[in-house]
């Protein structure tokens, strides 16, 4: 009983000048599964996800969505393909409310015959949709119509993850979603990640926390110096092995 492969990366290679950031890396992400992407700093994790989310482009190799080779040349392309990314620095707008953040760059607006920028916002619809999603994901915010500037790190992370969950139709990539959070806030975000998975998304999770890996991930891919050095099913007993792979000992 294996879940269908949603995203597959084949022999991805990426150079920045003389630096080989990705060297022949392949991986598969399956629907309803969390794939952990592990590696030390500079191992190529961030480069890889930036290539998948359209911030960078791979020099050679290919990326396929549902088995169809797809060219991802911009963040817009990735989003159109159903890939949502929660970046480490969140990409949240401090001066906007959660609903405005949710729909930034893809506002619901009419009439359709006007150029996008000149359309009129359907604010109430976006507000309602947002509170529905936040309720579904059990995200509790002090005030939904306040800007995110006043929210705690965990609440902001929850808004970012929830935003990804609304628009992701296939793949959600999370870059160290718990990095700056305390224990209890981390817990909430991990629950959100599990929920994204249970809703049928292929989740790619970058983290340094082995506990989180064994708890959530069904598979773990380890990168080192731009190369894939291993892929294993993480369990409580092979954490040592994982760490050894990451540091190359």
């Amino acid at each position: 009983m294996t879940n269908p492969v949603v995203l597959s990366v084949r022999s991805a290679t990426k150079r920045f000048g003389p630096v080989l950031a990705l060297d022949d890396v392949s991986l598969e992400a399956r629907a309803g599964e969390v794939l952990a992407l592990l590696g030390d700093n500079g191992a190529g994790k961030s480069t890889l996800i930036k290539c998948i989310s359209g911030v960078h482009q791979i020099d050679s190799g290919n990326i396929a969505i549902d088995g169809v080779a797809t060219a991802i040349r911009s963040p817009g392309d990735a989003r159109t393909a159903g890939i949502e990314t929660v970046y480490q620095d969140l990409a949240l707008f401090d001066n906007l409310t959660p609903a405005q953040n949710f729909y930034a760059g893809r506002e619901i607006a009419v009439p359709a015959w006007l150029p996008r920028g000149l359309r009129f916002l359907k604010s109430r619809q976006m507000d309602e949709e947002t509170s529905r999603v936040l309720d579904r994901l059990k995200v509790i915010l002090p005030k939904q119509d306040a800007t995110v500037a006043l929210m705690s790190g965990g609440q902001r992370q929850a808004v970012a993850v929830a935003r990804a969950s609304v628009f992701a139709r296939k793949v959600v990539i999370l870059d160290e979603p718990t990095a700056a959070l305390g224990l209890r806030e981390s817990r909430k975000v991990l629950d959100l990640v599990a929920q994204l998975r249970d809703e049928g998304n292929a989740v790619i999770l970058i983290t340094h926390n082995m506990e989180h890996v064994t708890e959530l991930a069904s598979r773990a891919v380890v990168l080192r110096q731009g190369r894939k050095v291993g892929e294993i099913i993480p369990t409580k007993t092979n954490q040592q092995e994982l760490v050894a792979m990451i540091v190359g000992a």
Binding site: Y87, L92, G117, S152
Partner: protein, 335 residues
């Protein structure tokens, strides 16, 4: 435990934040109350009408400036831009005698300089709009002096004179122009996708790019709008003085930036609305008018406005600091 120390310190800080954001209006009201006692002529209909007329140009141009400041930018060229627009208008009127063409020429001249600002800023990949708008400040001023041969060109059609200096039922016509422009910009900024994008670009430019917002187009549009507002200001000023002059608009860039900041918009971008620009413009108008009524030396007016700018910027810094505190306290409470 003192009673005032509430169980949730974040809530107390939130109240302070609200007080801060209401500050400019409160100060303006306080200013008006004090001045109406100190200067008996201050609150007469005639003087109020005067203040409105004197404030109109700053208010219109400040509304354009506020859009630019929302995107973390600055437009130093608005004063020269306005001067060039009045000269262009005066020359077009001399050549054609057409009222419509004269108004159109001023608006196009203003928007054109704005477009140059925006295009060179974005496509020239400049790190900050300061330099390019400083350059167009000089270029527009030079062009205006050249075209007008260094002198004022008298003569404006009656309709423009009416817009700039006429009045309806004792209310200056320029007031209606300001109100119309304010309504238009308010609608665009608050109800349309374009406005949402301006706030997003000002809030976090990198994020806006990642979310697929056409950042360059948004930036260019704000400079075009700032230029267009300078063109509208040119119509009002040329109408009031019945002339076009390369010497108009001196220090207008400072007045408009001051108006936006004094009014309570954030210099750090992403925060503020049209009301801030208007409140700030009226505040500058009121301070100038009152100091005149009280026979205070004109040099002191510059000092007073400078001091108010410092206070306003400090209020913005304080607001940012308080927000940080609220966030930390909320996070701590969740642990």
């Amino acid at each position: 435990m003192v009673m005032g120390q509430s169980r949730e310190p974040a809530a107390a800080l939130s109240i302070w934040l609200k007080v801060l954001s209401a500050g400019p209006i409160a100060i303006l009201v306080g200013l008006i109350v004090v001045l109406s006692i100190a200067a008996p002529h201050f609150l007469t209909p005639r003087n109020i009408s005067n203040i409105l007329a004197q404030t109109a140009v700053i208010a219109v141009v400040a509304m354009g400036q506020h859009l630019v400041i929302l995107t973390r930018g600055i437009d130093l060229s608005v004063g020269s831009n306005l001067a060039l627009a009045t000269v262009t208008g005066a020359l077009v009127y001399q050549a054609t005698g057409s009222e419509v063409l004269t108004i159109l020429a001023m608006l196009v001249s203003g928007a054109g300089v704005g477009a140059i600002n925006g295009l060179i800023y974005t496509f020239g990949r400049l790190p900050h709009p300061f330099i390019i708008t400083l350059a167009t400040l000089s270029i527009a001023k030079g062009t205006a002096l050249q075209l007008a041969d260094g002198r004022a060109i008298p003569g404006m059609p009656e309709s423009i004179q009416f817009l700039g200096g006429g009045s309806v039922l004792g209310i200056p016509a320029s007031f209606f122009v300001v109100a119309g422009v304010a309504g238009l910009i308010l609608t665009m900024a608050r109800k349309m996708v374009w406005g949402r994008w301006i706030y997003a670009v000002g809030g976090k430019p990198e994020a806006a790019l990642r979310m697929g917002i056409p950042v360059r187009g948004v930036l260019i549009s704000t400079y075009v709008m700032a230029g267009l507002c300078a063109g509208i200001g040119a119509v009002l000023l040329a109408g009031r003085t019945d002339a076009g002059s390369p010497l108009f608009g001196n220090l207008l860039e400072l007045d408009t930036i001051a108006a936006v900041i004094i009014g309570g918009a954030s210099f750090l971008g992403g925060r503020g609305h049209i009301g801030h620009a208007l409140v700030g413009a009226v505040m500058i108008g009121v301070i100038r008018n009152a100091l005149n009524l009280l026979n205070v030396d004109i040099f002191f007016q510059l000092i007073a406005i400078g001091v108010v700018i410092v206070l306003a910027v400090e209020a913005d810094v304080l607001r940012t600091y308080l927000e940080g505190r609220v966030r930390t306290l909320r996070a701590a409470r969740l642990q």
